[in-house]
Symmetry: C5
Subunit: 354 residues, 5 copies
């Protein structure tokens, strides 16, 4: 399966708004959690069915309704009915191949983007799709599986004194986006550490494993860029949104996301360039290592060539070779050979070949 | 014939609006099909002549009139007369070398773009030109030959309960564009699978066939980009169209096309870059494989050089070479040779050459 | 002379509006032709002097006044006086090194651009400067020498039934621009055919002549791009022109030029990239062909090295070399040599070197 | 630790506005200095606690309150309380991984950017974060450690006749930014001198140390670009600011910063390109040096090959080799060998190989 | 000293508007010249002191006041006082490291840019800074040293009939800018001629001197681009200036500068790309020349390897080697050797290696 594109065979030609899960199912049962709070009260629990969410309230508490697991189209459909969400939006939620985007509806704001995770030995990045629907009272989020980057936010909600407890769903959305973006930076930083290390290794010890690692990181950085770059547009639209759904007080926070995002994009670009440089440096390092060997051996061989020739001369069987009969002919020849060797070494030295 | 450009000799200097077919004829007789429907009724049949289309109706049914085969200028002209289409538009329809574009007329919308197909062994992409004219009651489409990507749409029309049955021609146009774009993604995905596979192959087994395949894919991806990138403008204009011909209810669907298109463009770019990387990785892999061979052989040869020299020395015919007369001279020499070999191997090992 | 720049020595520091011909004179006498027509009448003749043009008429016929040959500054000046053209415009006309541009005056429109021609063996592109001045009644064009791409337009004017006969100078200008742009595409297509052919050749038969050809095409494509790309701005300004000089009915035609131009620019870019790829593929092909030879020869040499060493051993003159006295010593040695050869071949085979 | 990104682990998921120092602590105790002046009076002293700043005055003196050392969150918080600064701004000040940015508040202007320093042997650039908050009466600056580029400004303030003494905080801010930007140019100039020197070295003496130096400079220039490029936006926003906080008289000075910044960005880009060129020139130089050696040695070896062969021939033990018995056979052979050598040298010369 | 940046040490931290000369002093005494003219009168003379300029007149003559030599800060200051110029402007004039820019003041227009000169053997470009201040009656220009590109303008002023005599300072400014831009083109053209010549040389005779020349031109073209590209903005602002200082009649002339500038930028870019191509072509040419040598020599050596082996065989001293005793053994062996040589040549021919 092409990793950079999801399976479009499943979807092609379906009626728009058809609810089909596109992607890999990563868990069994979808898991639903509701966190409902204001500055005084807090309800935080896993629920079994959508009915436990309770009626769409007119109270002022802030509710975060999170669903882990997207494969249950029936559930997604019922969420859509309960919160009166357009079917195109539901379709997007279930399609894990979505490009990150933001869409503004009458009284919803829909954002879908990727969370990035690095596996333990830091050799592969994988992504999980996060969809968030912002309504005045509810923030509904969909994830592909349990485990996310939002634990710090849940902790802050749990503390009665947290500022987040006095704010609405728009601030909650900001807090989540902040987590996602900071996580981008963490992932890139982790990769960057290894990439910066490789810069020295590549000159000292250019082994094939390093080349494979460079290639691997190039692919992973491309993967990261694919997830991170479209978020720029999302943040930019978010900053300039003219919607009642966002409290003006939250605006400075949203603007603050922008520099995080810029940093993520910048860093990914810098590491991309570094990897391209690493690739050509590796190429050069491997070449100059080999050249060094070849040079040594060729000079070595060359020194023996005239010596062997001389030995060949005096191995000939001509009847009349006067040198053969000299008493010290042999020793003189050995002396001549020594002179030849020294002379050649001297010449090579002079030309800076050795 | 240049594949990236159609034959301009045929057309050059003709009066604008001249109806000349530019391209390769791919079928004998043009084939006409009319699909006429509303939520209650459905007429779906092949027709022989344009007259069977019937009078331009004032009823509210939605009509999709499709023509397969562009080479019959007479037919194209009669379609133009019947639907009162400008001659420049007809000229564009018959020129299969058209760049994808959208044009807004008083009461028509004209779109021309490419459908992409991958041949069976996934080594060549070929394109077919699709032209669509949107009028309030009729959607007229022209294709180069039978067989297209619209079967799912026709199926949805056949189902009496389909949403499409209750919508007009603008929604039908959207459904067709959606098919075309999803098909772009399918084609790119298929190529991408192979490209991603090649990433491992190129390091393990850099054979010339792989280089040819890399070059082939580079060309095909260039071909795909040429078809896909101009569609961006089409979608963008479509989204911002201020025309009565598009029902406001259809607008969200048109906007939804945008992220499909962005994904197609992004992926094509990513695979283009990957192929360039593959090319240089191949280059490096082939080089380092050869280097490995050369290094082995050179070291091998080098070890024999002093040995052969020694043998040459004692093959000389000097009268006075005392070593020749020692009882164990021969065996000592063999021992010396063994020492030389071991010494050189040790030295090479120390310098990490072997 | 630098081909990509005209001789600026001639012009530098002259008073603006000075009439000096800059370029290469390509004909003796300038040739003047007037084509004057409306739907009823047609006058088409070469004239000797500017006076034969007749008085600037108030009638409704459309006049196309073409001058071949720019070196006669006196003539250019008189044309300027007759049609009341600004001296800066006349200066631009005579400077064949002009960058393509469009300029709007009170009641003129001035366009200057290049016509491109390919020499017969398709190895060189040369350009000729076309300047056109559009006035309500007259279209005045200047070319460097006889022979152009406008023959089809003249033919269409000759036919009494041609649409062009009922239109004004703005439509005539469109027809000419259409010819020029289609000719761009023809030139690029011709080059493209060869370039696409080279893609196979370069892998099969990378001879130095091919490299020279690749380099030649790179230069020519650069030359084409230099002429074609600035035309984009011209077409763009033309499309958005708010001038009475252009009849609204002509506007759709002008817009139609845009996609021709886009195609020319796109194709030139694609072929530019292809040539860069060809260059590196050639490099790789030549390298891998040589590597193949070197590998063969090195392996071949390596096989003989131990054999020659063995022969050397038994060519030594030690008194006590027992093997020399064995009856089948010689034959055993030959056998040993055969075993060494087979063993090495087997080893090389196993390591996939042969 | 990744040098191009700060440690995001420390921060991730914290409540926005949390005061946590992110970076490396570079000094023990934060150091506070107040410089308060108008054209008549001057107070310039280090203070121990924030209380010594005195009440936020309504007088017209200009105050520059500088804090060296960011790690003391308590201090930062108290500064925030005293000057009524938003907590998001305080958070940014303590995060030394901030991307340079400008933010406009009701009655503050907040700028954060990097100061660049080059270590003594010009092999590493390090950056220090500068944050500046402009209020009508106070300019508050935060730096990571003592020592900065502002000494000239402090000197100008000390001089009673300095123009700066008659201006407000906005002019003071300009003076500081001017120092920072000029320092960028100084750093780039220092690196540029070495880079331009390397251009000659790389052709004459391509030693591995030079490659390491080239790679080092590539990394450092990337680091400089990361700091310098975002400042463009800051200057651009500053120039177009419509705020009462900036005196119109200061505007021309702010505009003047723009060309400094452009120069810094341009130069960094140019040196970046130069380094990439240096890298490939090094590659080529090292290759052609090796090639020269190989060519010499191969030609040398080749000349001996036929000679050694001839010696081998006459070393054979055939009974009937008539040449062996000629009186001058040996001398004739030596003559033949000389002829072979001369002939080969002549041939090589002719083909321009030597 | 870094050639691409001027010495910022001198300036760093100075009060803005401080008059310090930054650059290399290129002459002793500054030289002042005044040219004062209208259609009737002409005064053209060198003056000693600024006082000789006379009172700032209210008459209608056009005055061009030129100062050669920037190092005399006192002089610059007095000019500033006389014409009431802002100190920031004076500072810019004395800083020869200025980036080209235009600045609009209440009743001045300030332009600073580079004049380019090519040394005689066309191996180095050097630049001289030109600053021009346009006021309604005076055009004040500053240059670094005597000798410029304005001689043609002075000549035109001298002619009583010149159009320039009837125009104001704005037209004079245009005439100077025109000279500067045409000179850019001349410099680029001169370099371009050599660059285009090198295209053939590089394939035929890739000597190291050529590589050095290619590298030299790359640096010089980078230098030219650094001077030429920012002028684009100047021309663009000039074209769109809404200032009383520019007579509307001069506007068409200013617009005309735009296409000169575009041409200069385009050409510089084209030659930059050509040089990059030349660089890689050189690399390839040198490589393929060496490969040719190596191939020849390796094949040559390989042919002798089996021959030498055979000679070695029959040089062995085994007692029982029957071949040695055959009457024609020697001659048969020579025959066998000949067969081997022919066979190998045939094989190499077949595989197209020779």
């Amino acid at each position: 399966m092409a990793r950079f594109l999801k399976n479009f065979d499943q979807k092609a030609g379906k009626s728009p708004g058809s609810l089909i899960f596109i992607g890999q199912q990563r868990m069994d049962e979808p898991r639903l959690r509701i966190i409902d709070y204001d500055s005084q009260t807090l309800r935080k629990e896993f629920i079994k069915t959508i009915d436990e969410v309770g009626p769409i309230k007119e109270t002022n508490t802030t509710s975060w309704f999170n669903i882990d697991g997207l494969h249950d189209s029936e559930l997604v459909k019922r969420v859509g009915e309960k919160f009166d969400l357009p079917s195109l939006m539901l379709e997007d939620i279930q399609d894990t191949g979505q490009r990150p985007k933001i869409e503004e509806y009458q009284d919803h704001l829909f954002i879908t983007m990727k969370m990035l995770f690095l596996n333990e030995d830091q050799t592969e990045v994988w992504s999980e799709q996060l969809s968030a629907i912002l309504t005045p009272n509810y923030l509904i989020t969909f994830q592909e599986r349990p485990g996310d980057v939002f634990e710090p936010v849940r902790n802050r909600i749990t503390k009665p004194s947290g500022k987040i407890r006095t704010r609405g769903t728009d601030y909650l959305l900001y807090a989540l986006l902040d987590c996602v973006l900071e996580n981008y930076l963490k992932v890139i930083e982790k990769m960057g550490e290894r990439i910066e290390d490789m810069e020295e290794e590549v000159l000292e010890n250019p082994v094939p494993e390093l080349l494979e690692e460079i290639n691997l990181y190039r692919r992973e950085i491309a993967y990261v860029r694919k997830a991170v770059r479209p978020v720029r547009e999302i943040i930019s639209k978010l900053k300039n949104l003219d919607s009642e759904i966002i409290n003006p007080e939250t605006m400075p926070y949203l603007r603050d996301l922008s520099s995080l995002e810029e940093q993520a994009v910048d860093s990914a670009e810098i590491y991309k360039e570094m990897l391209a440089d690493l690739f050509s440096t590796y190429n050069m390092a491997i070449g100059s290592k080999l050249n060094e060997i070849m040079k040594f051996l060729t000079i070595f061989a060359t020194i023996f060539i005239p010596l062997t020739f001389l030995a060949g001369i005096y191995g000939m069987n001509f009847e009349s070779m006067p040198e053969l009969h000299y008493k010290y002919g042999y020793h003189v020849l050995l002396g001549v050979m020594a002179v030849v060797v020294v002379g050649m070494l001297f010449y090579f030295k002079k030309r800076k070949w050795i």
